[in-house]
Chain length 249, copies 2
């Protein structure tokens, strides 16, 4: 096993950072790594916004309801971006309706996430800690307004990067048999029996991690998340995407 695979297998999300800064040349390297990822048909349909303004960091931390968003040395918002290619096509007097299709949305989404994971892998290989911030989608419209995102763009998530101030335990993953199949999909039958050992493992993980925190199993977490009430903003995500002229058909 090489160093890269070793790092991938030891990934932990880091949610507590020291005050130490990250030099600009290292940030440039992270962006460069992101840019060298695969993109669908080489269309490069994403953008990255580095947030350096402390007020904007605070605003995003408030939207995400996670104080550490504002505390990381570097904060990036990854943006699904079909606007750039619309600008190019329009400059050549071409119609751009197809950029509003589900096909292009899915491709641009893939581009965005692949680039983000390259940035995260690069950051971790340089011994920084990183965490994805899906929580900025608590209120996508607020993020759109804050970062002046034009039509045909949408924020996928944030990524915070900094010097780790914690070293959390490795979280146990689902058994391979639940996630990997050959040649066709295998639905989980008797999921609670099948995941009994895994539930126990997750339970122990939480128990060891924090004595003050309520200990739970994987299947309980899923059942709770799925049956909980969804916020009004979360219910509006599809409307917000459509207002950005995405997913029109």
């Amino acid at each position: 096993m090489n160093e890269t695979v070793q790092k991938l297998l030891n990934h932990r999300s880091i949610r507590s950072f020291t005050d130490e800064k990250i030099p600009q040349e290292q940030v440039d390297l992270l962006i460069d790594a992101a840019q060298h990822a695969s993109t669908s048909n080489f269309f490069q349909q994403y953008s990255i916004i580095g947030i350096t303004d402390p007020e904007k960091k605070k605003a995003l931390a408030k939207i995400g309801n996670q104080h550490y968003i504002a505390e990381a040395a570097r904060l990036f918002v990854f943006v699904i971006d079909l606007n750039r290619n619309a600008a190019i096509a329009e400059a050549k007097e071409k119609p751009v309706d197809v950029l509003s299709s589900t096909d292009f949305f899915l491709r641009a989404f893939s581009d965005t996430v692949i680039a983000a994971q390259n940035l995260v892998v690069a950051a971790e290989s340089l011994s920084y800690g990183a965490v994805y911030l899906g929580s900025i989608l608590n209120d996508p419209q607020a993020v759109i307004d804050l970062l002046k995102l034009p039509k045909l763009t949408f924020p996928a998530f944030g990524v915070a990067v900094g010097h780790p101030n914690q070293s959390p335990q490795l979280k146990p993953r689902l058994p391979k048999e639940a996630v990997y199949f050959e040649n066709e999909y295998h639905p989980l039958e008797q999921p609670l029996d099948f995941l009994k050992d895994y539930d126990h493992e997750v339970n122990q993980y939480y128990d060891l991690r924090n004595a003050n925190r309520r200990v739970d199993t994987f299947t309980n977490q899923i059942a709770k998340a799925v049956s909980g009430a969804q916020s009004e903003n979360k219910k509006k995500i599809l409307d917000t995407l459509k207002a950005q002229e995405l997913l029109q058909y």
Copy 2:
């Protein structure tokens, strides 16, 4: 710069493979690397289907209209998977409607792509070549039927991995200034002027790569792709997603 970053910066998609096989323990390592990636709220909402059946490989190559899909040592289809967590919640007699929301779709999509990029990075670090196969979405319903994908799942793309039988040139990426901004989005103004040097660079890349192939610029490629006709199957992607009980609201 370390070895991991160096590998990321040197990524090329590989579309021609030797006959050499990949040992099962290496495949297990790739799956393991994929499984150790971040997932939204730790919900792990993706599955991976390894295609070993030569007939299914051929069927996917036909759908994607790319012969090399069937020629790689290993072929994986990455599946957005909200079905597994539905099975868990249903076993605990909880309602699962929220799994059909756009919010959960976006999160599961991110999980799927992040896991896939870990697999690709791991494969490349082990000196294999890899390529994303967005082309399986030429006909998502055919992939759903072929792999027996149940409701609340959807194929994101394929990934082919094998021993490289080519060493293509590094493709020039968009200038950083077109992709990376600080604190707010910067729309491309005068995109054709702004990308003139890049167009020239891409043109040279194609010229060097293959003397027999028509040489083009980046902005021309975009203009053509955006104004070309979209196939009937591509127009149906949103309907297919909805028929899978995804993106209901």
